[in-house]
Subunit: 336 residues, 2 copies
DNA sequence: TCCCGATGTGCAAGCGCTTACAGTTCGGAG
DNA sequence: CTCCGAACTGTAAGCGCTTGCACATCGGGA
């Protein structure tokens, strides 16, 4: 009694039908369109179902209906605070709409050969956060040939619905906030990966703010590295004492945290001697002292919206791809 | 050209067969047991496949094979630092073994009626972290009638494989570490939800450590609240000045963080005037200054192990449920 | 030369479900 | 009392795939 293929003796709709003294068609109807069935028979069927502990075979069902009511959210990295809220918003929306949401951090690449990737075939649709500007990934997505909504990148040209983040508003606010009390040449943007779309938008907004004040940022006033605390820490330590009197807009909260940690070790006071603003407004921002100023992104709303767009798309495959954009905005706390 | 049911004209195995001039059986064979097919025919079939952009229908396949190569990891709350590593370990293991892992924060409750929940029927198995001791949930899990491995709770009696965390080792180490420099009556355990299994184990280990030193902890030396920073903060503020000279073992790092934040506002120096040790060793622990001492849990290993156990179980449904336990251990840093 | 096993391929029977379509029942209008 | 449509229910044809079995082919040993 071992070995996988051992054709399981699953309770089938036929057994239920026999037990209830009806046809399989009727059982199916009781389950899917109750209005087409007499209350009386429906009850008999339900009894049979629970006596037999019948549970419909979703594969067979999917084979006919061509849907699984399961959608997935693919993030470059599920791990980490950043995506939590996004996930939560998506989860709630999916649940409300009668869908099941599953998260994955693995992109459905090389779908053709990898056996596991085939699991994607069971999904009704996909929400994908595409972090880079790489073309290959887009092709892969297209090959998937299933409803997809993109987060954080405008892929409407490629036929995908997109929900976007307007980084410029918040980044501009943050830059202005810093510039209000720190001279332009002492302000810095310390970003994450350079190819990252958000990274670029944020740095541009920062640059624009300086220019609005008639200052052109020097090369070392806009730097890129990685979206990690250790990068922030490293950068700050390299600056050393020259950090005093500066104001930095970090590419995300992690970088900001790293900088703050380094400042602590260097004995630099925040915000008196160094002002810092992060990005993303992760929950952590309020857990440290001084509390971290940060540019907030309505992540939960974004997750919610993405799910709704996807599910609407499921009902109408042909409509033109839509795009929605959400603003970011500065939440000034104690580090700035 | 709209409306979901519009029976999609999907490329079927039959078209591939026709195009390659073979039978559907042969196509199926080149895909699933290539050794049974001549290299020559295999090539023809592969050509047809890529020309037609054929992608097997996973529902039909699943209907025959009874497996989807997809497993899910259900956590009470995917959100938050804590589960990140767990997920990462699980993800990597699943990938290595040719499975696809999806995460969900929604328990498969009321599976019977909720349509969305039916999506669980497409999974080969489930890894579940059951946080409470509630009986109902166990029944529900049993009803699911699919391979399941439990994390953090011993469910072998109920027939489920279990991977456990031995909280007592690390909690004991932490308590001893605190007791080495702080008198027993000044040591406190500030835990999360009382019904939580881990919470109980940790507090018990703490109690045991005190007793080993001949001290019986007073009621207010072992308190329970919630696993959040705000609870930690609230508790600390209630203690006020009496915090000085104390040593606290927090139920998790969030609580520890809350306490540290409160201490900062009260002007209490850490670790000189207040020593704190957290639990879980989340990544954040090293991002704050002073760096947080914490009891580490090998989360990644646990995720990895859970996946492997589940997949082994898939191959042998009848074997006796197994249990594996992983130790925790103290990582002393700067707050203690 | 004949026979036989090994090897490769095709045939066809389902897997469990949905859903046209046809058949049945029944109450009330004619 | 007959007839008709509305309202249910049953019949059966697949959905796209896998797989046991039968059949064909072929080379080598007797």
């Amino acid at each position: 009694m071992r070995g996988r293929p051992e054709r399981n003796k699953q309770v089938s709709i036929e057994q239920v039908a026999r037990r209830a003294g009806v046809s399989t068609a009727t059982v199916s109807r009781v389950l899917n369109s109750p209005s087409k069935v007499t209350a009386n028979t429906a009850e008999r069927v339900h009894e049979a179902i629970s006596e037999l502990r019948y549970r419909p075979n979703m594969f067979a069902k999917g084979l006919m209906t061509r849907q699984s009511k399961v959608i997935a959210l693919v993030l470059p990295d599920i791990h980490g605070e950043f995506y939590s809220e996004l996930l939560r918003g998506a989860d709630e929306a999916a649940d409300e709409l009668g869908y099941h949401l599953l998260a994955s951090s693995r992109m459905p690449f090389d779908v053709s050969d990898r056996p596991a990737a085939a699991g994607f075939g069971l999904l009704d649709g996909l929400i994908v956060m595409v972090p880079t500007t790489s073309q290959d990934q887009l092709v892969l997505l297209g090959d998937l040939n299933m409803p997809i909504v993109a987060i954080d990148r405008d892929l409407t040209d490629h036929g995908f619905d997109s929900v976007l983040i307007d980084n410029s508003v918040g980044a501009g606010q943050a830059a202005d906030h810093l510039l209000a009390a720190t001279p332009p040449e002492r302000c810095v943007y310390v970003g994450g990966d350079q190819e990252n779309v958000d990274s670029m938008e944020r740095s541009e907004a920062f640059r624009a703010a300086l220019r609005r004040r008639g200052a052109e940022p020097a090369p070392d006033q806009i730097v890129f590295g990685r979206y990690t605390a250790s990068y922030g820490e490293r950068w700050a330590k390299e600056q050393g004492e020259s950090l005093r009197g500066r104001a930095v807009l970090a590419g995300n909260d992690e970088i900001a945290l790293g900088i703050i940690a380094a400042a602590g070790e260097l004995g630099i006071m925040i915000p008196e001697e160094l002002r810092v603003i992060g990005f993303d407004n992760i929950r952590l921002a309020t857990l440290i002292r001084p509390k971290l100023s940060s540019v907030g992104i309505p992540l939960k709303t974004i997750g919610d919206q993405a799910v709704r767009m996807l599910i609407e798309r499921l009902d109408d495959t042909e409509a033109a791809p839509r795009r929605v954009e959400f603003p970011t905005d500065l939440i000034a706390r104690e580090t700035s």
